[in-house]
């Protein structure tokens, strides 16, 4: 019973950490239409920032500042926001695909840095013994997890309500207007680039926060945590839950994380140990399949997109142009 409860707590904490990151992506993709497939990179910035600032002194790499938990979290948010600013400035003016390519490039580059800049990150061996908050107050591992879970619930609720307030504010309505009809939005005197950049940077900051929370919870990070598969999982979560819907982002995170761990245990249970690597591959294939089916059958996700702005009928001549590549009748 305790075993199951502690597993559930563990599961929920992970799902909530994913929820934080998905909420960040939802602001970028769901509400602004920004196509970030370098989520792992911003998550990485947050993780390592926190580890370096709050972790113990490391023999071979930077650390030992012993800063308080909150300082580490704030720094993680600030640095990933800065990363978002640097990537967003040159690319947000270009076609959406360029942002995709640029963000994945950043993620790959950062992962290379994590792997090779041993003096900074510890290289392939990663950074360990990253502290948790309240560790000295609650000694039991289970209760410590429960406290952390409550903290995560609090953080997700705060982010959720903050994002809801933002997307319903005039600022959020401009975002959506830009996403749906950029020329119309710019003709109203709103500079789409500035709004996009703001949304992108805030989204990256939230991803960085997720990274810090993850590093603090797991206590150990390594470059392999930040491979493109991480970005893929977050996207799957958002698409399954329903992009453009913050509740969907959270729901999707829980469901896809359940699917991910479920298929993981299943393949582990079924396949003999010699085939474990193939089991891992199968796990990714199955999750990919769910994402694909979702995209094809229910592109708006389980929750669907919430109407924040009333849609005006858009009667345009470019319907024919948009149909240009469509199937012939």
């Amino acid at each position: 019973m305790i075993g199951l409860a502690s597993y559930l707590v563990f599961f929920l904490i992970q799902a909530l950490i994913y929820s934080v990151v998905s909420l960040g992506l939802n602001l970028q993709w769901g509400y602004t239409g920004l196509f970030n497939i370098g989520v792992a990179g911003f998550f990485l910035i947050g993780s390592y920032t926190f580890a370096i600032l709050c972790g113990p002194p490391y023999a071979t790499h930077l650390g030992g500042f012993g800063l308080p938990w909150t300082v580490g979290v704030v720094a993680a948010i600030a640095l990933s926001a800065l990363g978002g600013l640097i990537v967003g400035l040159p690319t947000l003016r270009l076609r959406e695909d360029y942002l995709a390519i640029a963000t994945i490039g950043i993620a790959v580059t950062l992962q290379l840095v994590a792997l090779n800049a041993r003096g900074l990150t510890g290289g392939s061996r990663g950074a360990e013994s990253i502290p948790r908050p309240f560790a000295e107050l609650v000694s039991s591992n289970l209760w410590n997890n429960v406290v952390y879970m409550l903290l995560m619930v609090l953080i997700v609720v705060v982010i959720y309500f903050a994002l809801e307030a933002m997307v319903r504010s005039p600022w959020g309505r401009v975002l959506k207007a830009i996403r749906e009809d950029e020329p119309a939005a710019s003709s109203l005197g709103k500079n789409p680039f500035v709004f996009r950049l703001q949304a992108f940077v805030i989204g990256c900051a939230i991803m960085g926060l997720g990274g810090a929370l993850n590093a603090s919870f797991v206590g150990f990070i390594a470059p392999t945590d930040f491979l493109p598969i991480f970005t893929f999982e977050i996207w799957a979560m958002l698409i399954v839950g329903g992009s453009g819907n913050n509740r969907g982002a959270v729901l999707g995170s829980v469901l896809v994380w359940a699917l991910w761990t479920g298929t993981g245990s299943l393949t582990q249970a079924i396949l003999p140990s010699g085939l474990q690597v193939k089991g891992g591959a199968l796990q990714i294939i199955l999750t990919g399949l769910v994402l694909m089916l979702m995209l094809i059958l229910r592109p708006r996700g389980l929750m669907g997109e919430e109407a924040v702005v009333s849609r005006d009928a858009d009667v345009g001549g470019d319907v024919a142009a948009a149909a240009s590549i469509q199937e012939s009748r």
Partner: protein, 245 residues
């Protein structure tokens, strides 16, 4: 039906639109006789471009029918329409900019490969300027030259009917007359022509008959000369023009 035998194009009570529930065309009737030039006029938003897209097969008919020499073509997709002898010259982006002039013309004969040589010969005869520029990329030509390439390209099909969407758009008055002279030459080799235009004067000057659309319906029709002199046409127009300014 028997009357259709002498009619090149019949548009019969056509209703169409882009967005569900919003009809742009609300029951249009129109006929074009073989070797006739007919101009469809109307203020912005009257449904002119929509009408031409319906005839070209780019937009589905919601109700009503389109017949080409008596044959129902209202449910054919665009690329099938070409094989039936409908040449379409869109208003904008009507050439392949990176292809040479000659390659543009070749694409015009894509569905009728056997006609390629004959078509090229005919096109260069009708548009001698293009023969000189055959190896140039079409994207580097002037607006007027591009319009010629577009018309010549549509002619490569040896079409029975040619649809022109605002051929005068963006051209200087001198060029407009030149383009319309060429349109008349195209008719003279046996092609039936339907033009959709805002520039009423220039278009009606070469046309046999005209229709005036307003709010998705044909309001006035008659011989070109009559329409030019009809004060009601001027009113519909001037009113719309004022509204635009």
């Amino acid at each position: 039906m028997s009357a259709d035998g002498k009619v090149a194009l019949t548009v019969d009570q056509v209703v169409a639109g882009y967005v569900p529930g919003v009809d742009i065309l609300r029951g249009i009737d129109l006929q074009v006789a073989p070797r006739e030039i007919v101009t469809v006029l109307g203020p912005n938003g009257a449904g002119k471009s929509t009408l031409i897209k319906v005839i070209a097969g780019l937009l589905r008919v919601r109700s009503g029918g389109v017949r080409l020499f008596g044959e129902d073509i209202s449910h054919l997709p665009a690329h099938r329409m070409m094989a039936r002898g409908v040449g379409y010259v869109p208003q904008t982006q009507n050439v392949f900019p990176k292809l040479t002039v000659e390659e543009n013309l070749e694409m015009g004969a894509y569905v009728r490969r056997s006609e390629l040589r004959k078509g090229l010969h005919q096109a260069y005869e009708l548009f001698p300027d293009l023969a000189r520029m055959r190896r140039q990329a079409a994207g580097r030509l002037s607006g007027g030259q591009r319009q010629m390439v577009a018309i010549a390209r549509a002619l490569m099909l040896q079409p029975r009917l040619m649809l022109l969407d605002e051929p005068s758009a963006g051209l200087s008055p001198l060029l407009v007359n030149h383009v319309f002279d060429k349109v008349r030459e195209v008719r003279d080799i046996g092609v039936t022509i339907l033009i959709v235009e805002q520039n009423a004067k220039a278009a009606l000057a070469i046309s046999d008959r005209g229709y005036v659309l307003s709010e998705g319906q044909d309001r006035i029709s008659g011989p070109a000369q009559e329409l030019l002199e009809n004060p009601e046409v001027g009113e519909l127009y001037l009113g719309a023009r004022k509204g635009l300014a």
